[in-house]
Amino acid sequence: MEPHKAESMDLLRIEKLKKYFPVRRGFFQRTVGWVRAVEDVSLYLARGKTLGLVGESGCGKTTVARMILNLLPADGGRILYKGNDICGLSDKDMKPFRKEIQIVFQDPYGSLNPRMTVGQTLSEGLRITGIRGRTDRREPIERLLGLVGMAPTAIDRYPHEFSGGQRQRIGIARALSVEPALVVCDEPVSALDVSIQAQIINLLKDLQDRLGLSYVFISHDLNVVGYLCHQVAVMYRGQIMEYAPAEKVFENPLHPYTRVLLAALPDLESGKAPPATGLESERPEFALTPPEGCRFRMRCPEKHDRCRLLNPELTPVDDDHWVRCWQAPPHSTRI
């Protein structure tokens, strides 16, 4: 079963997505095993909404993002964008969708070409969308810069002349240059200082309101996700552990891992709390291959026998609240 809602509402729909990476060893680089980076991931995203993908490093959230952009082929499952399966499309067939799905990267320093002026960077997208002449492009570029809160004088300057926050604005302008409907934001504010982070978060929100954008927002920071996202999916080692509207994830977390993440979250308003989680460290022997049964069981403070034998399915406990845990309460409408 997958999280389900009225199909027509969904801009993006991911079904049972799977990605395994080979582990190669030795002189001949033989494949000795597989890292199950993403397994059985199902999600949907409505138009104009933000889906938060949270989890610790290595949980597969960036891998999911790269598959949404078709930068990485999936090994199974479907990615439906406006009802079209974009998994495994050739570059040519993918081209119309490239305009619609864009990405903003984490590192505003590494993701801009240092040899291109801001104008050149932004005009690449415009050239692809068919605005040809140089003078034709100047005006839309100035409009783009205005959209992200930058002065038109930025057009002839190079990335190194800008601060981190301004570079992130340029990265956002580049994503918007082709007028996408869906923007995948991969940790877009993690590298920024607190005061700049707020500027970029406000900008992303304004743009969503003005342009009706949908975001897949990848972050390890639950405070940012709780502020910005409508839906939240919590990932652990390649699988979704809990998936629900943001209020439910924060107010009524049902998966032990979600509860651990929330407990570790510093909360300025509740005062000094010596951080103590019941969480054990991941055992090194399971670094590549998760243990049999539930993937979280080695670190789970609430594990019992059943968790060792079988991996639970992502199961609805409510119409829009999905949990992958044996301990989750049953769906209220079922007997």
């Binding site: 405070n223 510093p266 010596p274 989680t277």
Partner: protein
Amino acid sequence: MNVDAMNAPQEVVLSVEGLRVYFRNEEEVARAVDGVDFEVRRGETVCLVGESGCGKTVSALALLGLLPRPPGEIAGGRVRFCGDDLLDRDEEALQVVRGRRIGMVFQEPLTSLNPVFTIGEQIAEPLRVHLELPESQIRQRCLQLLHDVGIDSPEQRLAAYPHQLSGGQRQRAMIAMALACGPELIIADEPTTALDVTVQAQILSLMNRLQHAHDMSVLYITHDLGVVSQIADRVYVMYAGVIVETGAAQPVLRNPRHPYTRALLDSLPNRRKRGRRLYSIPGSVPHPAYKPAGCPFHPRCPRAIDACREHFPGMCVFDDGQVARCPVAAGRKLTDWCRS
């Protein structure tokens, strides 16, 4: 009620007075640290918090004598550690202090550990150099240290190279090295910034436990106000090379007096602010070579008045013992401004 005097232990382990660190090149002088005072008392955790470029790391490097000179220079101030002036000391004398009496933990354990030596060899080094322990005892002591910092199967980890450990384990190993000689003070520079939240919580509670077990003081440098709320007894907020606010951590975070501290807290997102616009501080941090005259925060400050553009404000003591460098917030008269 003076919170500092009430619950803080009195013995000062580290005191920094009027520290100035400049970076010079042909054209300009960057005043990275511009007259900073702080102190750390026995057994307490003090946080130095600020955004990148505010001078918090440079202050720590300077007081340890680790600042590359040139281009850096210490243009003034005093640093006293248990009564001894550290800035007067030569390199040889400093080496006796560093690693033995002051332990250090840095942000990125992968780059601050040496990739070609095993964890065991690196933990053994301070034991050999500073304590001159006989070889027979070193292994035992290393195992004990790894056990203390919560590393599983320490026998195997001793022979591991840094790249074979996870980020959290590497940071634990770094802490084991810092603890090796039983220091009185640990200086930790963003030790959990590169780590996941759950691992961060583990490391913070580990440091908390070890601090109490060994009666150490901790100077903790961070940009993360959430971390400050979890660990700090007292906090110093830095902006553009100066301390702008200080006091016991909880009062400062709950009722910040300096407009900058207020603005930082208001700009933090969380789920309770959903639907409301985040406050964002206009503009950006000034370049350390081109700081504005007067209060360094005035171009971005919502409460700035004309006097803020001309006079560098002194520290003002509020009724409850909190201290902030803002005479406007304190309601002081213009004539009182320049005293700190």
